[in-house]
């Protein structure tokens, strides 16, 4: 699993430019399922199991990650950009970036020595930041990049005991879990979707859910864990090392209560996501067509939406096991 996650996060797929991750996933799963790619670029993968459940089950993970889109080039050869997805400005300042999966750059700024007073204490506006690719002129920059190119903040992939540190854990962890399910799980038939454009408004899942037309859905995600220094216990949302986080409600979805209870009672390490915060593809999926009973199984992730996200491998394993358990729970229509 670690190796699979490592390969997935090493690829760049900012919303709307998911080709690299899609190609990799297709390479991994094509021997195990029937798959198609829809007009927006979602992968729809049908896995045939030993039994066909009474209810059609969809499992979803999104392929895209938060990042940047180049908007223009300045006369001095610097790049202006917009942020795709929710990224705190701190996580942009002085970060090494990779454009189009191959071009090195850095988000540059005024050194600490040249700022003072209030400027030193307050975050700059994101639109006052620029990418420096080393170009000495507009011409040099334009020969290397174009407006519309995507960029990510890069990161090493670090495994430290049970913890992993990387960019793009949201939601390559979900992709890895679905890939492993497609490869290894064959009790019941299910459909997996690897979707595009989650970070810019849950768009890919909207059309994928329409095409699949499921009765029940499991969204496999990563979610904010605030079990960090100086955060009171009632604000931690969920905690690393305590199993998969199960949502009862977030900003986009009220989840199916029965599935929520069943997941928590499964005996597999799981915890309630104790906040009505954030949102994921469930927001699109549960409102698809005439409505879909929906569950979210998330891996707790500290510093999500940054290139230093931290998750626990034990929680990934719990989420994987819980996906299998819930497929069978739903299939058996308990």
């Amino acid at each position: 699993m670690v190796e699979l996650i490592k390969k997935l996060v090493s690829l760049d797929a900012v919303s709307g430019d998911e080709d690299a991750v899609r190609d990799f996933i297709i390479g991994e799963i094509s021997p195990y399922c029937k798959l198609s790619v829809d007009p927006l670029g979602n992968i729809i993968a049908c896995k045939e199991g030993k039994r066909t459940p009474a209810k059609k089950i969809l499992l979803d993970a999104h392929m895209d990650e938060v990042g940047l889109i180049v908007t223009s080039v300045t006369d001095d050869g610097f790049l202006r950009f917009n942020v795709l997805g929710g990224i705190n400005t701190s996580a942009l300042m002085f970060r090494a970036v990779r454009i189009n999966g191959k071009i090195n750059g850095v988000i540059c700024g005024k050194p600490i020595h040249l700022i003072s007073g209030d400027e030193e204490k307050k975050l700059p506006q994101a639109d006052s930041l620029y990418i420096d690719i080393g170009a000495a002129s507009r011409e040099e920059a334009e020969s290397i990049v174009s407006p519309g190119d995507r960029a990510v903040m890069i990161s090493d992939f670090t495994v430290e005991g049970d913890k992993i540190i990387s960019k793009a854990l949201d939601d390559r962890i979900g992709c890895a879990i679905l890939i492993k399910l497609l490869k290894e799980y064959d009790e019941y038939s299910f459909t997996a979707t690897f979707t595009v454009q989650e970070e810019v408004g849950l768009r890919g899942a909207k059309v994928a859910a329409y095409s699949v037309n499921p009765d029940a859905a499991i969204i496999v995600e990563s979610t904010t864990a605030a079990d960090i220094a100086d955060v009171p216990a009632d604000k931690t949302v969920c905690r690393l090392g305590h199993g998969a986080a199960i949502s009862f409600m977030d900003r986009a979805t009220v989840y199916d209560r029965e599935y929520y209870n069943a997941a928590l009672a499964s005996g597999i390490p799981a915890q309630s996501k104790e906040a009505v915060a954030g949102g994921n593809n469930a927001g699109s999926v549960h409102l698809s067509r005439g409505g879909v009973r929906t569950l979210a199984i998330s891996v707790p992730c500290r510093y999500i939406h940054t290139n230093s996200s931290v998750a626990a491998l034990g929680d990934v394993d719990a989420a994987f096991k819980l996906c299998k358990y819930m497929i069978e729970y739903i299939a058996d229509d308990k």
Binding site: P111, I112, S128, I133, D156, I165, I228, R302
Partner: protein, 336 residues
Amino acid sequence: MNVKDLIFELTDSTGIGNIRDAAKTAAKYFAGFCEMTYTDNRGFIAKIKGERDYTLALEAHIDQIGFTVTSVDENGFLTVAACGGIDLRALPARQVVIHGKKEVRGVFCSTPPHLSEKDVTFEKIGDMKIDSCLGKAAKDVISAGDYVTFTGKPFALSGDRVCSKSLDDRAGVAVLIEVANRFKNEKPPVNLAFCLSDMEEIGLRGAKTSAFALSPDEAVAVDVSFGDGPDIKPDKCGKTGRGAMIGISPVLSKQISDKLIKTAKDNGILYQTEIMGDSTGTDADVISVTKSGVKTGLVSIPLRNMHTDCETVSLSDVKSVCDLLYSYVKGGGVNG
């Protein structure tokens, strides 16, 4: 010698506090043909005998910015103090290496969106925590006083520009190594001393003692200075790719500044001047007031994003500084 490879090797080694890997990496390029003196402040001096009994010191600092651990809590979160000036606003969610009993990758805590206030302010380093990702086991590995440094592997940008942590002042160290190597088989007109000082980032301390120990007749400090960028006033910075920055300041020797400019002009070396209305903030400030006084100059490499893990320089500027100092030494220094 490939200057890019040299710079990458130097920035990839650590030099802070008790960790002297950077000094060891640098020393191997001087050992063999220089007379080596290791100073008690963890830097070193490498000497090459010249024609004349007059010592010209070229100086760069070997230490880097970073942090030192001040406490470790039961959940594996650390408080730190800064070693050098660091932009607190850019720390959240930034990865670091914690040099404990083993090297551990940590992350500066970042307030999650559901808890972050609109007008968040960054007051002091003591308010920030590092997540060691070790949980309860952290106390077995990390102790107060351990050092923490940025990650930031070196990489190439477009053209001849490179990006890395610690280019301040390993780019200067690379210049000293390159100049020394040009005198490997050629006796300089004056005695040359290459002074690699520690503890610059915490108050120009190492240069104070190494300059005292050496007592040079003349010194030129080699450091980095602010490179240009969006929203940086042109009079506050040098232009990246436009050559060596020759320092002019009331605390620097005017004769040396003038001689450096003349040397650059005579030899067709790309240069720009850096005019400072006060002290320079570099080791030149303390070297110049050593013992009964040392005539001191300053040559800098324009560097973007100073004191971050993605500092950027142009290799052509590094080469201009090498060429300038080589020609300056060949010309016998300020009195040559």
